[in-house]
């Protein structure tokens, strides 16, 4: 989607166009979910965070400085919302993985649950590595868009993806990674 498309979408939403809001939510749900999952590392919570982030974004759309490039602004909202979610969970004393920013060893995953196995494996990555690999391999964003969205260079995005995949394969397919 081009900058003009994004700008047009924002303008239509501000005019009250519900279809444009639907298109906006579909366009940005994946990136918000990837960033949220990179922080909270719980798929259901990440979906809740992605929804909350998009609701905030829609309500504050008139504050968006550059309607042609909403990515960095949405990323900031999603990450802040995810961090707030973690903080709330911590205050409630809920058992969540609070070591979301630093890498931790992946614990053994339950057999037969591929989703849980992936979530556990993501624990070996740093938050930025998780975000890049999820944006690229789960959401299918190209490096140029990932770079804009996260505020890193394209080269940095490629390097982070390379490192993230290597680390994940070492956990998910240890035999293959060794060969």
């Amino acid at each position: 989607m081009s900058q003009d498309d994004d700008r047009d979408l924002v303008r239509r939403i501000l005019d009250g166009d519900a279809r444009a809001a639907d298109a906006f939510a579909r366009r940005w749900f994946g990136p918000c979910y990837a960033v949220a999952l990179a922080v909270v590392r719980h798929p259901q919570d990440a979906q809740d965070v992605a929804q909350e982030s998009l609701i905030k974004a829609l309500r504050r759309l008139d504050q968006l400085a550059d309607p042609g490039t909403p990515g960095p602004w949405i990323h900031a909202i999603a990450r802040n919302t995810a961090l707030s979610h973690l903080a709330r969970a911590r205050r409630r004393g809920r058992s969540v993985d609070l070591d979301a920013v630093t890498p931790i060893p992946a614990p053994a995953a339950p057999d037969g649950d591929e989703g849980a196995r992936l979530v556990h494996a993501l624990g070996v990555l740093k938050e930025h590595e998780r975000a890049v690999v999820l944006l690229h391999d789960l959401d299918g964003l190209p490096h140029a868009e990932i770079a804009t969205f996260l505020g890193v260079t394209e080269t940095n995005s490629r390097q982070l993806l390379f490192v993230a995949r290597k680390k994940l394969r070492a956990v998910l397919q240890p035999e293959e990674a060794m060969s």
Binding site: D22, F29, A50, L58, L138
Partner: protein
């Protein structure tokens, strides 16, 4: 080997399209303010001038009514206080407004006296 994407499909929220559509609808419903229906706009346009006129009239008569007690009998004029309380001030104004009069302007002059 690191050129191949990791299969994250088990974590993809789009795997359940109905649930995903539900989340999108929830976001749009809560994020976008509800649109004002054309009927509401039509009614607002129809009645807005009337409401505005009524508001101005209420303000004008409110100011006039508020001035009446200040022009009433002097303090200490005990004998006339009870009688004038019903013939002047807000009570008299309300009576006049309810019953009407032949000449509203002379009535208003009387109230001001």
């Amino acid at each position: 080997m690191t050129d191949h994407p990791i299969d994250f499909s088990p974590l993809d929220p789009r795997r359940d399209p109905d649930r995903f559509d539900g989340m999108i609808r929830h976001v749009v419903a809560r994020g976008l303010p509800p649109p004002v229906s054309p009927l509401t706009w039509s009614l607002a346009r129809l009645f807005a001038p009337g409401f505005a006129t009524a508001l101005v009239l209420a303000l004008v008569f409110g100011v006039l009514a508020a001035r009446v007690p200040a022009a009433g009998p002097a303090p200490g004029d005990g004998a006339g206080t009870a009688a004038t309380a019903t013939s002047t001030g807000p009570f008299a104004f309300a009576t006049w407004a309810a019953t009407g009069g032949d000449d509203p302007w002379s009535d208003l002059d009387m109230l001001r006296r």
